[in-house]
Symmetry: C2
Subunit: 225 residues, 2 copies
DNA sequence: ATTGACACACTGTTATAACAGTTATATCTT
DNA sequence: AAGATATAACTGTTATAACAGTGTGTCAAT
């Protein structure tokens, strides 16, 4: 049953990769709910690898903020408290504002066009029940592309970390009806970045990030784990 | 010879902790210079633990940016290229500016006084050959304390990561004579944070971080590994 | 009935050893 | 002598198993 462990040419899939992707999936799907203990042996059994790679997978998840550990006790799925969500959003604000600043100073026309297309779709496609998955993915891709276009590997890395915890919170709490963007929300952000003024770009991004803050905090407060 | 592995009461020192601290020390001391390959077996031998904890230690070092890895080849001490240093400084800027913003809005009088004392020492003690170690430590503590007073665990964590790579770069390149602070450099920063205006605090911090940028980049460019 | 202690069934931790690539060197062939 | 091939000595990777705490439930004594 080691079908997934094959070395397909150049890119080598390690056992920790396998364990990580399976566990992440189950956490985001809600199969492993917040607070649930993740025993190393059981995770090894589920993912068909041994304990060693599971340790590394859990460690990565800890870096992502999806899992926490008590020494000599074990790991469990992070419970998104108001404090943690707040910390995460402040960190996200730091990263994304810096990305906006950088992009305002170095962004090619092709990059702007690509981003603007996504922004337009986000502003026009309604956030309805049947398109929620589509819209959410587009939204994630928008921010991920912004990060990548900064050309800064460290910022991209930090963003992806923060983002996973954010995705978890969304999956747990936000419903479609809660989300309603102004009509030119994302395109305005792009225009402000395009202006070439770092301060303006940053201010616009800060507003953009903070917009979701109150909503998320409220949702988290209402869901007790 | 397992004297270091004892469980001293409550706080449990794991084998990865032991390996990590030894290897970090040797990297920062220059005993393991940039580019040097760090074989897992040899690291295990040096640190008196087995290969498994060494894997975790090397992984932590990778997170810190002190070590890089090629799959199926091994780990080696990071070579601080201009690009990496630049990325790191931009990330540092993001974190520290956000910390400055937060502190401008929530900082107690005691916290301000403690920070101001360190700032005063930094501005008055000359950065001479014999006090370089002292001064550098004070400088690190200043920024570390700033991070901690933000009350945001994620930001503290991110800061410590970034900071280690920064320490490495400093250890490799900067000489005492290169560094010369304006007389009120750190106290001005504290005053700007104290003003209560997030934008002003941020701008001041940005200037503070960028001040060192040119100097470091130049030093790194001149030291080819 | 309550309380204490002991044992068992979990948990993490990590050393050993076998497996699997990579690289460099030595040997063989042309 | 030059090139190609095989081999040896590294490297990372990870499964197995033994060790070491932690918590829980049960049983006996009070």
């Amino acid at each position: 049953m080691t079908t997934e462990l094959q070395n397909t040419g150049d890119n080598f899939v390690t056992a920790p990769d396998v364990a990580y992707s399976i566990i992440v999936q189950k956490i985001l799907d809600g199969e492993f709910p917040p607070g649930m203990q993740l025993s190393r042996r059981k995770m090894a059994e589920i993912t068909n690898v041994s304990v060693i790679p599971v340790i590394e997978a859990l460690k990565r998840l800890e870096e992502d903020g999806l899992v926490e550990s008590k020494p000599k006790w074990g790991s469990y799925v992070t419970i998104p408290t108001v404090e943690k969500v707040n910390d995460s959003l402040e960190a996200r604000e730091a990263i994304e504002c810096q990305i906006a600043r950088i992009l305002s100073e170095r962004m090619t026309d092709e990059q702007f066009n690509e981003l603007y297309q996504i922004a337009e779709r986000l502003d026009t496609v309604p956030y309805a029940e049947d398109t929620i998955e589509l819209s959410r993915n587009a939204h994630l891709r928008f921010h991920k592309t912004l990060a990548e276009f900064s050309g800064n590997a460290k910022l991209v890395n930090m963003f992806e970390r923060i983002n996973l915890f954010w995705i978890l919170c969304n999956a747990l709490t936000v419903r479609a009806k809660d989300v309603e963007y102004p009509r030119y929300w994302h395109r305005k952000l792009m225009d402000d970045i395009r202006s070439g003024d770092p301060d303006r770009a940053e201010a616009s991004m800060r507003e953009h990030v903070r917009d979701s803050k109150g909503r998320i905090i409220e949702s988290v407060r209402n869901s007790h784990y």
